[in-house]
């Protein structure tokens, strides 16, 4: 199974719009939403069945047994995350606690125990033909990278026979993005022709390069700034990165999405361009010697 990951660095460039179009065009048997922090792919992939839900446990959280606590202050002094505070009683801020277990270890009277904590929810949609794995991180939680790994694991273990898996990624370059990069065959970057978009694109390309992942670029809303579009294409040429295609700005794209449809479900200019992007991406992903 070849895995294609869609990333962008900057948010809102059209990752999910492109991912959903690809899923439709490929009639994909396996796909996943790794933007666990703000997942949206489920909104337009048209599943009518309820997903199978599983609690996701992140790192443990410290809990203080007030009856045993002697208020010796050892836990507070040794916590590097400022997660323990005192007003009358010692208490743990569950949002600040990173579950390291130092407080449990230093407590002389064993008043502190590390307790499992739900940090999100995994969801698996499936029928006889296809599998869609997604998740939602609980608000204010850390460990999004671990949840991303679980989403991909869930997709793989539920997939019976698929040539291609399409993975929608998250913005940024940090832990969820790095977790999503592991094991994929190719990254498609959806760039936006703005100064911000170019800066963010360069940072995500550097990040993907650190992990040695094959990377190609397409530009969304290219006609909103032709000069910047040309800069991006020039950049790709210099870096030796395959440039896939341009997609025009299209107000029909928003209309499609707001109706819960993909841009290839309706007759529109961005949909036509998305087909070309899809074809060129597939050629590159499945080309001989391409991993």
């Amino acid at each position: 199974m070849k895995q294609l990951l869609i990333l962008s660095g900057k948010g809102g460039t059209g990752k999910t719009t492109i991912a959903s179009a690809f899923i439709k065009l490929a009639d994909a048997k396996a796909y996943a939403d790794c933007d666990v922090d703000a997942p949206n792919l489920h909104l337009i992939t048209g599943w009518s069945v309820e997903p199978e839900k599983t609690d996701y446990y992140g790192l443990q959280k410290a809990e203080i047994n007030q009856e045993l606590c002697t208020q010796c202050d050892q836990c507070r002094q040794n916590c590097r995350f400022d997660a323990i505070s005192i007003d009358e009683k010692y208490k743990v801020d569950p949002f600040a606690c990173e579950g390291c277990g130092v407080c449990e270890y230093v407590c002389p009277v064993e008043a502190i125990t590390m307790k499992p904590a739900v940090a999100g929810e995994l969801m698996l949609y499936s029928d006889e033909e296809k599998v869609f794995s997604t998740a939602q991180l609980k608000m204010g939680s850390g460990t999004s990278g671990m949840l991303v790994t679980e989403v991909k694991k869930q997709m793989k273990s539920a997939t019976v026979d698929a040539e291609l898996a399409i993975i929608d990624g998250s913005p940024g370059i940090g832990c969820p993005v790095i977790a999503s990069l592991s094991g994929v065959d190719m990254v498609l970057i959806v760039a936006e022709p703005s100064i911000s978009g170019i800066s963010d694109m360069e940072r995500i390309i550097n990040t993907a390069a650190k992990f040695g992942t094959k990377t190609a670029v397409c530009i969304n809303k290219y006609d909103t700034n032709i000069e910047n579009t040309e800069k991006i294409e020039e950049f790709c040429k210099k870096q030796g990165l395959p440039f896939i295609a341009r997609i025009p700005f299209d107000s029909n794209a928003v209309k499609a999405i707001n109706n819960g449809q993909t841009i290839v479900d309706i007759d529109c200019t961005s949909g036509v361009a998305a087909k070309e992007v899809y074809q060129n991406t597939m050629n590159l992903l499945f080309e001989k010697g391409g991993g």
Partner: protein
């Protein structure tokens, strides 16, 4: 006053709103907490930049003292240490700097050393002080950089915090000390879904907040509908217009280009200030 600007979804206009608010307020401080992809500096183009590296503490082992007892390996919840053929290996990228291994090593074989994960840059752009956090590529967590930025903030004055997308730990860290949260929403199905998430987040942290509806078209606005249904204050409506789009894509500051944008942001700032004042008198 500290105003945090957030959105859940990326690309809705957080940086656009933050930068223009900073340039409208007097002697403002603009803080870029989107440390994975900081963009505010591209608009503000600060001069006289002073950069400082941000470091975290990671363990360093003295193999002459290590007895291979595995106590640190067993203790570490992040699997940042491993004992392979009698040698202690340390994986810095996954270390959370809790200090446990140092604390519990029976032979005191582990010390700590600094490791760079990014930078904080401080500069000036006209009347605006610009603070930018930037995570090095390949690094996992920007939280220590955001904590560093927060320590640098003055106690007084108008501070605008440009937050990262999402609603995870880094966003929480960014809004923790905010007096008011501005949620920027775009009129799409995705935009509304993610607005719902940050709405829950600001409620959870008990922050006063209001919504800026960005990229408004003539058609029905699902984000506006969400605000009506949940009785959320709408601070301002910014129209979708090509001129604004072009200014933004060229990293230009709208309020410095056209009086109509300056008026729009002046009135937004006034509304926010009034809301905060109202908050402090009713919930001191």
């Amino acid at each position: 006053m500290r105003i945090a600007v957030l959105s859940g979804k990326g690309g809705t206009g957080k940086t656009f709103v933050s930068v223009n608010l900073s340039c409208t307020a007097e002697k403002a401080v603009y803080v870029d907490c989107d440390v994975e992809e900081p963009n505010g500096h591209l608009f503000l183009k600060p001069a006289r930049i002073a950069g400082t590296p941000v470091t975290v503490m990671v363990p360093a082992v003295d193999m002459n003292k290590c007895t291979g007892c595995r106590k640190c390996v067993d203790f570490c919840k992040y699997n940042a240490l491993a004992l392979v053929t009698g040698k202690l290996l340390i994986f810095h990228e996954v270390c959370h700097s809790c200090g446990g291994c140092v604390l519990f090593c029976p032979t005191k074989a582990i010390a700590e050393k600094e490791r760079r994960i990014g930078t904080i840059e401080e500069g000036r752009s006209g009347g605006v002080t610009v603070l930018t956090g930037c995570l090095d590529t390949g690094e996992v967590s920007g939280v220590p950089i955001i904590k560093g930025l927060m320590k640098k903030l003055p106690r007084e004055g108008n501070i605008v915090i440009d937050c990262p997308p999402g609603s995870a730990c880094i966003v929480m860290e960014s809004i923790k000390d905010a007096d008011y949260c501005v949620l920027v929403a775009e009129p799409t199905l995705f935009g509304v879904h993610n607005l719902g998430m940050v709405y829950e987040l600001v409620k959870l942290f008990n922050k006063p907040f209001g919504v800026v509806l960005n990229k408004c078209l003539d058609e029905e606005n699902p984000a506006e509908k969400f605000c009506f249904e949940n009785n959320i204050m709408i601070l301002c409506r910014i129209p979708f217009d090509n001129e604004l789009g072009t200014l933004n894509s060229n990293a230009e500051i709208a309020v410095n280009k056209d009086k109509k944008y300056r008026d729009m942001f002046s009135s937004l700032l006034k509304t926010v200030l009034r809301e905060v004042q109202h908050e402090t008198t009713t919930n001191p």
